[in-house]
């Protein structure tokens, strides 16, 4: 029985599929390739991959559709490949349930790092780390306490709710809309300014260098990501 993690690549460019096949194969992954979105949706069902890599610019169906179809039945990590000009589509893909993205052109080390995060996350999900560790701060989500340099610090209820929402999707990109709905409620999905203000407060309280945050990461134009300590 093949115990290697399986990676599904949904990408129409044969040259890109080839170099992914080579480099992912060399890293010890089993690679399944689909050249169209429809094929990819079917392959995701039959091969049950550990991670799916989906190109946003597919010839037959939208990459976002592929993400949506997979999400209907599986929580498998989905990494999207997007071009710089596809910012809007990227947001849709996250809305549809994508976990992460890599912008084309990319170096293989970048993609491998994302795949490792995705696999680790898939293994860990459900166990749930209840204490978040920053350089000099910790947040205990269960006990609702926070410490910085050993001293207790105060987080407001909204700040707790916000960091808990990010922690539920640790290492994943969470869109503005999703965070607003989870923390403030569906009526506030458009109130991005709330997020800006509270994220700044969280960074000021928790990040060692709020200007260059290591954990409370801004995905510009898309949302935020809580990067776990060991993914950096």
């Amino acid at each position: 029985m093949d115990l290697r993690p399986t990676i599904l690549i949904v990408e129409d460019e044969p040259e890109i599929r080839r170099f992914l096949r080579f480099s992912l194969g060399a890293e010890g992954y089993r690679v399944v390739e689909s050249s169209t979105g429809r094929r990819g949706t079917i392959d995701a069902g039959t091969h049950k991959p550990d991670v799916a890599i989906v190109d946003l610019g597919l010839p037959d169906v939208d990459g976002v559709e592929v993400v949506r179809h997979i999400r209907e039945w599986s929580p498998m990590p989905i990494i999207i490949l997007s071009a710089r000009s596809q910012e809007r589509t990227k947001i849709e893909a996250f809305g549809a349930g994508a976990d992460d993205y890599v912008t084309k052109p990319f170096g293989i080390s970048e993609l491998l790092a994302r795949i490792r995060v995705a696999l680790r996350h898939a293994v860990r999900s459900g166990s749930g780390g209840d204490v978040l560790r920053f350089e000099n701060a910790t947040v205990d989500l269960d006990k609702r306490t926070a410490f910085r340099d050993g001293q207790p610090i105060h987080l407001t209820p909204i700040e707790f709710r916000l960091i808990a929402a990010l922690a539920r999707h640790v290492d994943k990109v969470v869109t503005h809309r999703q965070l607003l709905a989870e923390v403030w409620g569906p009526a506030h999905e458009r109130d991005t300014h709330y997020l800006r203000i509270y994220m700044k407060q969280l960074r000021d309280k928790l990040e060692a260098d709020p200007v260059r945050p290591k954990h409370l990461i801004t995905e510009i134009g898309v949302g935020y990501r809580l990067a776990a300590s060991d993914s950096l």
Partner: protein
């Protein structure tokens, strides 16, 4: 690559055409207004001046309208003026009859002057239009050739490196040491990444110019934009000494975060490219009355002969041009992006030696923040957002 007209030149043509339709109606309005005004002046002059001088006032009205508007309004002014002059001033007043043949002469002169001037003005206008069209063509041509030149240099060189290095790997890999193979592979990677970025910039500029980019405004924190841009440029700025000064109380701005991040990234990239390693680069933001100014300043002791206006134009490398390459679009893109947002981008020399590149973004008052979430009361202190 399709290089379109620059917005400025295209706008000027559009402006002329639009102006023409609007001015037609405004022109007729002014024809009436000028006649009324001259009539009032005429009444004021009556008794103290000869009739011929009152005729001169009407003539002046005809000249002014003819100068500013097309032939139609000029002819209308002539007719109205003649009618008013005749009915109100030429004896017998209150009638349209003319006793003295010399007034017929006055009318003829008035009409002729109106026609001649409007004809001359129309001519000049047409020439101006043709000139503007020529300028558009010339500008398009200039950009096209600059683009071709820059493509042939900026893209051909990395392509040559890539095909040379990759063919060596494909055909003679076994004769190379593993370090050499790695070095070749790495240079292919770096060159291709560079090239992708240049192509992206050319496309971006084209999209900005043709209006193909829609801006998606939302409340944005300049701090987050700066963090993101700094993160993206961290490799390139690794050998520079970076100082970041962002005040805690910067207001949010309603902008397209993705685009503004690019604008700032381009300024940082520019500093990384055009100043020597070890240079101090300072990124800071300041709030003014109606806008927020983001600046990237370098203390390179840099060139004093840089044309601070020209460097924001497409394909204009500063005098500092080294082999650092780049399509020379970064600053032009930055400016195009902030102008789309109602801001501006400019450069200044730093007295101590160096350059500062700035852009401004207008500030609006953000809506209030709901202090309580709709969730269950969890007995903790309410939230007081800091601003």
């Amino acid at each position: 690559m399709d290089v379109r007209q620059t917005p400025t030149a295209r706008d000027s043509v559009a402006r002329i055409f639009k102006a023409r339709t609007n001015q037609r109606w405004i022109g007729y309005g002014w024809a009436v207004a000028a006649t009324v005004a001259s009539t009032l002046v005429g009444f004021a002059m009556r008794g103290r001046f000869d009739l011929v001088n009152i005729a001169m006032v009407y003539l002046l009205a005809v000249v002014l309208v003819a100068l500013h508007y097309a032939r139609g309004p000029a002819v209308l002014t002539s007719i109205l003026c003649i009618a008013a002059f005749d009915v109100l001033f030429v004896p017998p007043q209150g009638t349209f009859t003319v006793d003295d043949v010399q007034y017929v002469f006055t009318f003829a002169i008035m009409l002729t002057v109106g026609l001649v001037i409007s004809y001359l003005v129309a001519n000049v206008r047409r020439q101006a239009r043709e000139q503007a069209a020529l300028e558009v063509a010339a500008e398009t041509e200039r950009i096209r050739s600059a683009l071709l030149a820059s493509i042939s240099h900026d893209l051909r060189t990395p392509l040559a490196v890539m095909s040379g290095a990759s063919s060596t790997l494909a055909e003679a890999a076994e004769k190379l040491s593993s370090q050499e193979r790695q070095a070749l592979a790495r240079s292919i990677f770096e060159q291709s990444r560079d090239m992708a970025e240049r192509v992206t910039k050319v496309l971006q500029m084209t999209r900005l110019e043709t209006g193909a980019i829609q801006i998606d405004r939302d409340w944005t924190s300049v701090g987050e934009v700066a963090s993101s841009a700094l993160g993206r440029m961290s490799e390139r700025l690794a050998s520079h000494r970076l100082i970041v000064e962002l005040p805690d109380d910067l207001p949010l701005v309603k902008v397209d975060a993705v685009l503004v991040e690019q604008a700032l990234g381009n300024l940082l990239e520019n500093a990384a490219k055009h100043t020597p390693a070890g240079t101090v680069v300072r990124l800071y933001a300041k709030q003014r009355t109606n806008d927020l100014v983001v600046s990237v300043e370098d203390y390179s002791g840099g060139p004093s002969d840089v044309d601070v206006e020209r460097i924001f134009q497409k394909f204009a490398h500063g005098a500092i041009e080294t082999n650092a390459g780049g399509v020379g679009l970064g600053l032009a893109i930055c400016r195009a992006i902030v102008r789309l947002h109602g801001g501006n981008a400019w450069a200044e020399r730093v007295p101590a030696g160096g350059m500062v590149f700035r852009f401004s973004l207008p500030i609006e008052q953000p809506p209030g923040v709901v202090e309580r979430s709709p969730g269950p009361d969890d007995g903790l202190a309410p939230d007081y957002p800091h601003r």
